[in-house]
Subunit: 356 residues, 2 copies
C-alpha cells in the first residue's frame, strides 16, 4: 500500500488479513500528555494551536513518539467549518466552545448557504500536508470532521448543551429549516473531507457526537441521512488507494445496521455497545472500531490488560477490528497507563489473527 | 381495586385490559408550571419544599388539577437517602445538587454502613400519607427512589458529572469498595420504598438516571444487580393489592431483557429506544412506560398529536402500555402543550384497546 511502513490500520478497515489488531486512541493528542500541554501553552490558546499548521503537526506527532500507535489523526477542532462560516467561535475556560452568532432563523441559514467555507480552511489542509510529510510513511493519517447534525447542534444552541432545546425545537417546529441547514453542512463536510484526502489523509472519520440524543426516526432523517450523502460523495472520489470512511455516532448502538448500509467501511462503537453483538449484526459489511470504556485507564495495570483482552476476545478471530477506546481519552489519565494498554493490544491480539 | 376511582395505570402495569392507554408525565410537578414556581418561591428553597409534607403534597397535586393524568407521583428529591446519611446535600443555582461530604474512601463507606437513613426520612412518608389522603382515590400514587448506582454517582462525584471519573475510578480500581457502597444503598432503597408503600404508595419506580453510562458488564454488576435485589424484596412484601415496580434506566435500551428478568412489572423507556422493538423483546414479561421525546412538546399542536399517535401505534394493540415522555418534562415547555398531549392520548388511544 504505497510507501506506508505500517498499513495495519487501513488493512483492518478493509477487512484484509492482519497479523495483529491495529490501534489508535481517540483524542490521542490531548491534554493528558504533558508535551501537549506544553505546546498548547506555547500556542497561547486553543484556536491558535489548531490554526497554526506547524503546531498542529507537532501535537499530532507527539503521541506517536511516545506510543506505538498504528495511525495518526489530524489535530484540529470539530468546529472549524462553522468557524469559517463566521459564527464567531470562541472558547470559555471550563465551558467549552461557544458561538457569538448562532443560527436562530432562516435568514441565518440563507446567509451561510452562500459561503464556501473551505476557502477559509487552508490552514487545515496545510496541516494535513505537513503532517503527512513529517510522518515519512510511518503510519496512515486520519482526517476527520464533525457530522452535519453535530455541527448543527453547536451552531443552533450556540454552545454545548444538555437538553438540546433550541435545535430540537427547530427539529419539531421547523424541520424544513433544519433540513436546509443540514444540507448546507453535508455539502461543506463532503468538500472539507475531500480536500483533506487531496492533501494526504488516508482515511477519514465522521464524528457524530450528538446523534445519540435523537429518537430513531429523527436520527435516520437528521443525522444519518446527511452522513450518508457525504459517504456517497467520498466513495466516488478517484484516489490512488482506497480511502476508508469511518462513521461514529456516540450512543448509536441501536442503529448499526442503518449506519453500515451507508456504504462506509467502518463503524466506531462506544463502550455501551457490545462489540460481539455489533459484529454479529454488521460484521460482514463493515469493520468495527473501539470500544473500551475510557475510564478503564483509571484502573490498575492488571485491570487494563484484562479489559483489553475482553474486547479482543469479544470481537474474536479475524480481521475487521481496529482497537480504540469507546470515546476520547480523558484529561486526567496517567500517560503511562496508555502504555499498558498499547502493550496489551500488541501482546494479546496476534492470537486472534493468523500469521499473514 | 380498593376505592380507586381510576386504576387504569395499575391495570396497564399488570397488563390487565384497559379501555384506553393511561398516562402520567415524568417530572409532572415541575418548573414548567407557574403554580409550581409560586409554591417553590413560597417555600424559599428546593429542599424546604421537599421536606415540608404540606408543600410537597401541594405541588404533587398541582398537575392533576390542571391535566387529566392517570397517576400522581410523590414530589421529592432523588437524593433524600444520601442527604439523610449526612453527606451534606445542597443546591447551587444553575449547577444542580452538590454534596459537602462525598464518599472518597472506605472509611466513608463504613461510616454510612452503620446508619438507618430511613429514620430521618419521616418527612417523605408523611408526605406520602398526606398526598394519599388528599387524593381521595382519584388516581394511584407512585412512590420512587433513585437507583443505588445513580445515588452512588452523586455520592462519589459529589455533584452531577459528565465523565464520572471518580466513581469509574472506584469501579475499575476498587470494585469491592463500590460493591460495598451499593449493597448499603440497595438495602436503604428497599427500606425506603417499603416505607413509602406502607405509607400508601400504590406503585413504585426506581430511577436509574446514570446506568446508561456503563458498559454492559459494568451495568449488570453495578447498576442492575442492586436493583434486582430491591425488586426481589419488594415482591415479597405482603400488601392488600399488588404494588407494581417500574425500573427505568436512561440509555438502557440495550439491556431490556436483563431488566425484565428482575421480576419487575414495568420498564421505563427513553426516547432513543423503539417501543415496538422493546415490546417484541420483553412485552410478554413486562409493561412498558414511555417514550415520547420530551422535546416534541416544543413542536406545534399537530406535531404533538402526530408524534403521540406514532408512539401509540408502535406499541400497538392491547394492554401493557403506560404513556409517558422518555424523560422528565423540560422547564421551558408551555403548559398548554401538555394539554394537547393529554388530549391526544385520551382521544387516540381507545382505538388500541377493546372496550372493557
Amino acid at each position: 500500500m504505497s510507501d506506508l511502513q505500517n498499513d495495519l490500520f487501513l488493512r483492518a478497515l478493509l477487512k484484509q488479513p492482519v497479523e495483529r489488531t491495529p490501534l489508535w486512541i481517540m483524542r490521542q493528542a490531548g491534554r493528558y500528555l504533558p508535551e501537549y500541554r506544553a505546546t498548547r501553552k506555547r500556542a497561547g490558546d486553543f484556536l491558535t494551536l489548531c490554526k497554526t499548521p506547524e503546531l498542529a503537526c507537532e501535537v499530532t506527532l507527539q503521541p506517536l513518539d511516545r506510543y506505538e500507535l498504528d495511525a495518526a489523526i489530524l489535530f484540529s477542532d470539530i468546529l472549524t467549518i462553522p468557524d469559517a462560516m463566521g459564527l464567531g467561535l470562541h472558547f470559555t475556560e471550563g465551558e467549552g466552545p461557544k458561538f457569538s452568532n448562532p443560527i436562530t432563523q432562516i435568514d441565518d441559514v440563507n446567509r451561510i448557504a452562500t459561503l464556501e467555507p473551505i476557502n477559509d480552511l487552508g490552514y487545515v489542509f496545510d496541516a494535513v500536508s505537513l503532517i503527512k510529510k513529517e510522518l515519512h510513511g510511518r503510519v496512515p493519517l486520519i482526517g476527520f470532521s464533525g457530522s452535519p447534525w453535530t455541527l448543527a447542534t453547536y451552531m443552533v444552541e450556540g454552545q454545548t448543551s444538555r437538553e438540546f432545546r433550541k435545535i430540537k425545537t427547530m427539529l419539531y417546529k421547523e424541520p424544513q429549516m433544519l433540513e436546509q441547514l443540514l444540507e448546507i453542512l453535508a455539502k461543506s463536510v463532503a468538500d472539507y473531507l475531500t480536500a483533506q484526502i487531496r492533501a494526504g489523509a488516508q482515511a477519514v472519520m465522521i464524528f457524530d457526537t450528538w446523534g445519540g440524543v435523537l429518537s430513531r426516526e429523527a436520527y435516520l432523517k437528521f443525522s444519518l441521512f446527511p452522513m450518508k450523502k457525504i459517504v456517497e460523495k467520498l466513495l466516488q472520489l478517484k484516489t490512488e488507494t482506497e480511502v476508508p470512511v469511518i462513521l461514529f455516532t456516540k450512543g448509536g448502538g441501536n442503529w448499526l445496521p442503518e449506519m453500515a448500509a451507508t456504504g462506509c467501511h467502518g463503524l466506531g462503537l462506544d463502550w455501551t455497545t457490545e462489540i460481539d453483538h455489533a459484529r454479529s449484526l454488521v460484521g460482514e459489511k463493515v469493520a468495527l472500531q473501539g470500544n473500551l470504556d475510557p475510564a478503564v485507564l483509571y484502573g490498575s495495570d492488571k485491570v487494563i490488560r484484562n479489559e483489553v483482552n475482553k474486547v479482543l476476545d469479544k470481537f474474536g478471530q479475524g480481521s475487521g477490528h481496529v482497537f480504540n477506546l469507546g470515546h476520547g481519552i480523558q484529561q486526567f489519565v496517567d500517560p503511562d497507563k496508555l502504555t499498558v494498554l498499547v502493550d496489551a493490544v500488541k501482546e494479546l491480539s496476534p492470537s486472534f489473527h493468523s500469521p499473514v
